[in-house]
């Protein structure tokens, strides 16, 4: 028995199994994925780091590390702290900046045999505009995920992500500047997630992804300082899953656009919770660190679940727990 999905094999074991006849395709508004399993921004680099461990071509999609117009060195170290069933990170949006990304990374990214979602962040509307302009159909990127929720940067995403008006504004702007599908990524650090979801739907988002990390802190009691150099960081991993599932459930009832669910997925059972709560696709972040084969195992498990319960398509299980 797999007690917790941490048992894995080399992925060769997976490739042979016949997929029988479950329809794995998911339609996220204008974006079609070959299957509902994505990997989360910031946990999957630029898509090839995990390739020796998990075959990219099996994934429904990957989301790139968050990008900003200018290069960022990110926050000082330490940037990670382990917490009960979770972890804190304060990477602080380290990234090569738009120009270097386009030159040095995009050529490889464009060859990735899966759907590629760029994740964009900014510190002003202008930043988002620059980023949105850069990614258009045919650019090698298939969709834009707008991170309005990064909790790490003091004057950054937090503002956009916790006020419905500015969230709507930034999404409308991005939507106006790109012809790619636009995914609005929501922060859970709000009183009313439904209000935020409605705002980004209003702003024209094609898809909602949720949740980003919860703001947290961990203290080194011997040094008597926060463990993270940045003091606070984003909490991810299984610990936050109940919060994420609750929010997906609430938002699924309130909006008409599809949801990508994430937050603490390690096993297919976890992913099934999100789909039953109303997520049309799921994304795996911290779970990759624990088990690089998690995305494949989740896919296999969901497929088998559909088979066992007589669902012909994965999309048939979306929202069934309502």
């Amino acid at each position: 028995m797999k007690v917790n999905g941490k048992i894995e094999d080399n992925y060769e074991n997976y490739t042979e199994k016949s997929k029988e006849d479950i329809d794995l395709t998911v339609e996220l508004g204008p974006l079609t994925l070959r299957n509902p399993i994505i990997t989360c921004s910031g946990t999957y680099g630029f898509g090839d780091e995990y390739a020796p461990y998990c075959p990219v071509e099996k994934l429904g999609g990957i989301t790139l590390k968050g990008l900003t117009p200018e290069q960022r060195l990110g926050n000082p170290l330490p940037r990670l702290a382990e917490t009960p069933a979770g972890m804190l990170n304060s990477v602080g949006l380290e990234n090569p900046g738009l120009e270097d990304f386009l030159q040095s990374y995009l050529p490889k990214v464009r060859e990735l045999p899966t759907t590629v979602i760029a994740n964009i962040s900014g510190f002003s509307l202008r930043d988002y505009e620059i980023m949105a302009n850069a990614f258009q159909a045919g650019s090698g990127i298939d969709a834009i995920e707008v991170n309005i929720s990064c909790p790490n940067v003091k004057h950054g995403g937090m503002h956009f992500g916790t006020h419905p008006d500015s969230a709507q504004e930034v999404i409308a702007l991005v939507k106006a500047k790109t012809n790619l599908p636009v995914i609005a990524k929501l922060s859970p650090n709000v009183t009313d997630i439904v209000q935020m979801a409605k705002a980004v739907e209003q702003g024209g988002a094609d898809i909602i992804s949720m949740i980003n990390t919860l703001l947290g802190m961990s203290i080194d009691i011997e040094r008597r300082q926060p463990i993270l150099a940045n003091k606070v960081g984003g909490l991810s991993g299984p610990a936050i899953r109940p919060v994420a599932v609750r929010m997906v459930w609430q938002v699924a009832q309130a909006v008409n656009i599809p949801i990508i669910g994430m937050g603490g997925i390690l096993t297919w059972q976890d992913a099934a919770e999100f789909m039953l709560a109303g997520a049309r696709a799921v994304s795996i972040g911290t779970g990759n660190f624990v088990n690089p084969l998690a995305p494949l195992e989740v896919l296999e498990g969901i497929e088998e679940y559909c088979r066992r319960h007589g669902f012909a398509a994965v999309s048939d299980i979306v929202g069934l727990a309502h």
């Binding site: 048992i7 999957y44 995990y50 990670l80 069933a85």
Partner: protein, 281 residues
């Protein structure tokens, strides 16, 4: 490689007081492992703790398909790891990272602080096979620490070892830099201005230990014109370069550009001259 490793042996290296354990694993990792690389080990079956733990490869037996890990029980993760039993399996990723450069010729000085010695043995053995002149300078707490941290492995391998202990119970009393100054300093080019190129062809240095020690030793040998490599440590998430949790700060010697290096992927071994030790931010 991601897969299961079989536990062949698992015991205390010496006095359990020092909490240093030896873990011999049968794993494919042995096939490709290079000195200075590490593995990312899942210590528990459940989510407590959640993350894997990075541990250096301390010995490689290619034919037997075995690697040795030496680790100190530090916190919860290594405590749980210490309970793994011979015959059981552990999930392992590896070999990971960018290891040490084996010099083409000349002398190789290894410098270790405390348990920083663990990744150096495979390098020493590789150097030996290549007939390089290799020796270890190793600083530690006291005699018990050394004998409980694999000193005999070095002796078995017939690598010259020079020790310094804080309490003087073995080797020179004091820290490893003092030992180095005394034992090696006289042999080195006294002119601080000696051309780097000339020196580095003959003297290579590999350092691993606590950050402050690594830094001062690196600076010392850089000043003497040696080619210095340092092995760094950071908290890790993915260990494959995907999360940016583990970066260090580097400065390109040519362009002067400041950038981040991923300890897990670009390192853990970096050129001493490129590391910006005290970069704030």
């Amino acid at each position: 490689m991601l897969g299961k490793a079989h536990i062949i042996a698992h015991d205390f290296v010496g006095d359990p007081l020092y909490k240093i354990r030896r873990l011999i694993l049968r794993t494919e990792v042995a096939r490709e492992a290079q000195p200075g690389q590490f593995v990312h080990v899942q210590v528990a079956k459940g989510m407590d703790p959640l993350l894997r733990r990075p541990i250096s490869i301390a010995d490689i037996q290619r034919e037997a398909q075995e690697i040795t890990l030496l680790y100190r029980i530090k916190g919860k993760g290594t405590e749980i790891l210490s309970e793994a039993k011979v015959g059981e399996e552990l999930s392992l990723m590896g070999p990971l990272g960018h290891g040490f450069t084996l010099p083409a010729r000349g002398e190789l000085i290894l410098v270790a602080g405390g348990i920083g010695v663990f990744p150096l043995l495979p390098l020493a053995k590789a150097a030996q096979e290549k007939n390089l002149d290799v020796s270890l300078y190793w600083g530690g707490e006291n005699k018990g620490f050394f004998t409980s941290s694999g000193l005999d492995l070095w002796q078995e391998a017939r690598i010259p070892v020079f020790l310094s202990s804080m309490d003087g119970s073995i080797g020179e009393k004091g820290n490893v830099l003092d030992l180095l100054k005394k034992q090696v300093g006289s042999r080195l080019n006294h002119g601080e201005g000696a051309t780097q190129a000339a020196q580095s062809e003959v003297l290579s240095v590999a350092v691993c230990g606590p950050q402050v020690m690594t830094q001062v030793v690196s600076d010392y040998f850089l000043q003497k014109g040696a080619a210095v490599e340092v092995s760094l440590e950071e908290r890790m998430g993915c260990a494959v370069g995907a999360c940016l949790g583990c970066v260090c700060t580097l400065k390109d010697k040519v362009s002067g550009r400041i950038y981040r290096g991923k300890v897990c992927k670009d390192g853990p071994v970096f050129k001493g001259e490129e590391v910006l030790w005290d970069y704030e931010g």
